[in-house]
Amino acid sequence: MLARVAENIYWLARYLERAENTARLISVNANLLLDLQRGYELGWLPLVDITGSRHVFDAQKHRSDEREVVQFLLANAENPGSISASLNSARENARTLRDILPTEAWEILNEFFLEFTAQLPAGLNRRTRFEFLKRIVLVSQTLAGVLDGTMSRTDAYTFMMLGRNLERADMTSRIVDVRSAQILPAAAPDLGPFQTIQWISVLRSLSGQHMYRQTRRARVTRVESLDFALRDEEFPRSCMFCLRQIELYLRTLTRSSGVLDTLAGAHRFLAQVSFTELDQQGLHQLIDHLQVYLIGVHASIAQAYFPALPGNARRPMPQSQAQDGGSTLPLFADVP
C-alpha cells in the first residue's frame, strides 16, 4: 500500500485509541475521588500530567479544579491530547482513507463525531458525564470490532494494528505512572484502605479489574497490579501484550528487521525490571525509560515505512524529559 496511506491509517488508529483511553481516565478519576475522604488534595491535575499536556494547560492559565481540567481534556481544541482534538484528527485521517476503510467504519466514526460535538455539554456536566464517557469507549470498541470483522489482513490492517498497540502501550504506561506515583502522597498516614482503592482504579482505567481477579486470584496489591498492567502476557491492554502484538504484525511486513531490533530492546527492558524494590521515584523513571523505548519503536517504523519528508525535514519527535520529578513526556502527533 502507499507509504502515505500507511502513515494515515497508523495515526487514525492511534488517535482513536487515545480518545478512548482519555475517556477511561476521566471516568475512573471521578470515581476514585468519590471514594476518597475529604482533605486529601489529590484532585484533577494528575490527568493533565498523564496526557503530557501540562505546558499547554499552564500556558492557558487554567485553575486546576474538576471543571476546568475536564473541559481541558474533553473539549479544548488547543490541547492536542484532548478527546475532541483526537476524534477530530481521527476523522480527518479517516477522510483521507475513505478508499481504504470499510464503509461502515467510516459511517460509525463520522456519525459519532457529529454526535460527540452535539453532546459535548452533557460531557461537561457532572451528572451526565459518566454516560457520555462510557459512550466514547463503547463506540471506539464498536469501531475496533467492525474493523477487525471486515478488514482484510493486508498492510492497511497491519499499520492500523501497529498504531493501536503502540498507542495503547503508551497510554497504559501513562496511566500506571500518574496513578501510582502522584495521586496519593507516599507517606500519608491512614492510607491503608485507600491503597487498594488506588490500585483498583489503575485496573479499572484499563478495564482490567475483572481479568486481574481471574488470573491473579489475589488481593489487589501494588506489585501484582504493576506486573499485570505492564508485563502480563495475556491481558490485551498490558504493555507487554501490546509489544508482542507489534512484533507479530511487524513480521508480516518486509524490511522490518530494524524495527524488530528496536522492539527487542523494549522487550528485554520490560522483562528484566523488578517491581518489588521499586519506590515511587523509581517507578516514574522506569515508565519514562519505557516511553523512550516506545518513541524509538515509532521512529523506526516511520523511518522504514512512511514517506520521506521533502528536503531534510524531520518528523517532530518529543525529547525525553526524564529527570527527578520530571513531568510525563508529551503525547506526540503526526505532521500537520
Binding site: R4, T96, D99, T103, N110, E111, D155, P307
Partner: protein, 483 residues
C-alpha cells in the same frame, strides 16, 4: 393529505413528471400515483430521512470560502426523482455515443494531421487561440486513439420538449459518484417505490470504469496497476475521487506518492518499496499535471509525467490535451464534426449559439444582450457568465466592454427555459428547473450511464443548477414502461 396536482402549476414550462393536462407522463405514472397517496407531510418525513442518511454516510462536497477555508457540506438531494422512459433514453444514449466518437476523432485529428482544418470545416484560429490546446501533445497517439475517456455531457430540455446538449465536459468531469449514492439513499428511504416501477440500475459504473481504464494499460497483464490521482482532500470533488478509488479497488494517490524513474516509467512509493503504475485516472487539470511540462509552480503533479505518457509508458485518462474540445467555441462545431468524421446526422442538437469571435455574430449579440446568455468559452461551474434577462443595464454595459476586448473568449445562446421536476419545498411540491449530466466512457468500447446526475436549481425560478451555487440533485430513473 393527498397531493392535488391541479394546484401544481408550471405554465409555459415543460414538466418532466406532470403533463400539460395535470396528468402524469408515462415514465412517472407509478411515481405520481405513489406521491399523491403519500401526501406532503409524509414526503417531508422521507426527505428528512434522506438528509439524515446522507449525513451519516458522509456524502459531502467541499465548498471553498475566502474567509472560512474549505467547508464540507452534506450533498443536497431532493427525494422526488426525475423520470425518463427507456425508449427516450435509448435515443439519447445513441446520440451521446455518436457525439463522443466524433469528439475523440476530432482531438486525435487536431494533434496529428489537422485534416478538419485543411478541409475548411474549422478555422485554424480556433486552435491557435485555444487555452486548452497543448502543443506538446502533437504527434502523440494514445491507446485506441482515444483521448476523452470520461466525458460528462450536460443535457437540458427546452419548453417544447427538445433535449439539447449544453456542453461536453472533457477535462475532469465530476458528479458520477453522487449519481450512484443518490440511488443508494433512495433505496434506503423509498424501498417500496422500487417495487412499483421497472427502474434500471445505475451501479454498474465503477466496474465499467475499471474495465475501460485497465484496457488502456501499456503492459498486457491480468490486473494492471490502475490508480486515481487526486489533488487532495481540499478539492471540491475529493469525496468522489475517494469513492471511485474504493469502488474500483484502486489506490487513491496524490502527486507526491508518484515519481517518474530513469526508465520513464511511473512508480508509486509503497510500504513494500516502489511499484510501477500502468494507468492513471487523473482528476487534476492539465495545468497542474506535470511541473516540467506545464505550470512550473504546481505542487500537485508529478515531474516527468508528460514524458512518461508521450513515450507510452503510462496511460492517462483523460489524455492531456483532451480539453481542446472542452471549449465552448469548439462545442459549436460538434454537429459539423459528426457530419465530417462519421458522415452521420447529429441525433442530439446543440443549443443554437453565436460565436462572438465572428464580427457579424458579435454585432447581433451586442444588440440583444438582454435576451441572451453569454458564456466564457473556457469557463465551468456557471462562473463569469451574463444571464441577459436577469441582468441590469450597468452589468450589460460592463459585459459588452469585456466582449469587445476579447470576443474569441465568448459565445452567446438564447435563454433555454429548462424543464422542471416537482421538488419538495417547505411542505409541498413545486416545479424547479433541472438539467442532466450523463457520463460516457470511451476506450476500446463505449459505455453510457443509465441516466445520469440530475441537478436541480432549488431557488424558485433559478436556472443555475451548480452545487457550488446552491443547486441540489435528484435521483434519475430510466423507467422501462414496456414491461
Amino acid at each position: 393529505m393527498r397531493i392535488d396536482w391541479t394546484s401544481y402549476s408550471a405554465p409555459g414550462l415543460h414538466d418532466e413528471l406532470i403533463g400539460p393536462g395535470g396528468g402524469a407522463r408515462v415514465a412517472g405514472r407509478a411515481l405520481a400515483r405513489y406521491l399523491t397517496e403519500l401526501g406532503g407531510r409524509e414526503i417531508g418525513v422521507r426527505q428528512q430521512a434522506a438528509e439524515l442518511a446522507i449525513k451519516a454516510m458522509g456524502i459531502t462536497f467541499t465548498v471553498y470560502h475566502e474567509q472560512g477555508g474549505s467547508i464540507d457540506r452534506s450533498w443536497p438531494l431532493d427525494i422526488v426523482p426525475r423520470t425518463i422512459t427507456r425508449k427516450e433514453w435509448n435515443r439519447i444514449d445513441a446520440g451521446l455515443r455518436q457525439r463522443v466518437a466524433a469528439i475523440n476523432r476530432f482531438i486525435d485529428d487536431i494533434y496529428h494531421e489537422q485534416r478538419i482544418i485543411a478541409d475548411g470545416i474549422l478555422p485554424i484560429s480556433i486552435i491557435a487561440s485555444s487555452r486548452n490546446f497543448r502543443p506538446n501533445c502533437m504527434g502523440v497517439t494514445p491507446p485506441a486513439r482515444c483521448w476523452a475517456h470520461i466525458c460528462g455531457s450536460d443535457l437540458i430540455r427546452g419548453s417544447d420538449g427538445t433535449v439539447f446538449v449544453l456542453e461536453d465536459n472533457l477535462r475532469v468531469p465530476s458528479g458520477v459518484s453522487y449519481m450512484i449514492e443518490n440511488r443508494q439513499v433512495m433505496k434506503r428511504v423509498f424501498p417500496e417505490l422500487f417495487d412499483s416501477a421497472a427502474i434500471l440500475p445505475v451501479d454498474d459504473y465503477p466496474g465499467q470504469l475499471y474495465d475501460m481504464l485497465a484496457a488502456l494499460s501499456p503492459r498486457p497483464q491480468e490486473r494492471p496497476e490502475v490508480v486515481v490521482l487526486t489533488p487532495g482532500i481540499y478539492n471540491s470533488a475529493y469525496f468522489e475521487h475517494a469513492y471511485l478509488a474504493r469502488q474500483m479497488g484502486c489506490e487513491l494517490v496524490e502527486g507526491r506518492d508518484l515519481a517518474v524513474g530513469d526508465d520513464d516509467c511511473v512508480y508509486m512509493q509503497t510500504t513494500r518499496g516502489s511499484q510501477r503504475v500502468d494507468v492513471i485516472y487523473r482528476r487534476i487539470d492539465d495545468d497542474f499535471l506535470d511541473p516540467e511540462a506545464f505550470r512550473a509552480d504546481s505542487t500537485l503533479g508529478v515531474p516527468g509525467l508528460m514524458r512518461a505518457w508521450s513515450k507510452g509508458k503510462v496511460a492517462l485518462a483523460n489524455a492531456p490535451g483532451a480539453g481542446v474540445a472542452d471549449d465552448k467555441l469548439v462545442y459549436t462545431y460538434v454537429p459539423d464534426m459528426i457530419r465530417y468524421y462519421l458522415d452521420e446526422t447529429p441525433i442530439l442538437p446543440n443549443v443554437p449559439s453565436w460565436r462572438c469571435g465572428e464580427p457579424k455574430e458579435l454585432e447581433h449579440v451586442l444588440a440583444h444582450l438582454e435576451s441572451l446568455v453569454v458564456k466564457p468559452v473556457d469557463g465551468s461551474g456557471g462562473y463569469g457568465m451574463l444571464m441577459g434577462p436577469m441582468s441590469t443595464q450597468r452589468e450589460r454595459t460592463q459585459f459588452a466592454a469585456q466582449l469587445k476586448a476579447a470576443p474569441r473568449n465568448f459565445i452567446a445562446q438564447p435563454v433555454i427555459t429548462l424543464s422542471t421536476v416537482p421538488t419538495f419545498v417547505g411542505d409541498r411540491l413545486e416545479p424547479r428547473h433541472v438539467d442532466l449530466r450523463p457520463f460516457i466512457l470511451s476506450g476500446p468500447s463505449t459505455y453510457v450511464t443509465t441516466g445520469g446526475l440530475t441537478r436541480v436549481a432549488l431557488r424558485k425560478g433559478s436556472l443555475v443548477v451548480n452545487s457550488s451555487q446552491g443547486g441540489g440533485s435528484k435521483d434519475t430513473w430510466i423507467v422501462d414502461t414496456e414491461v
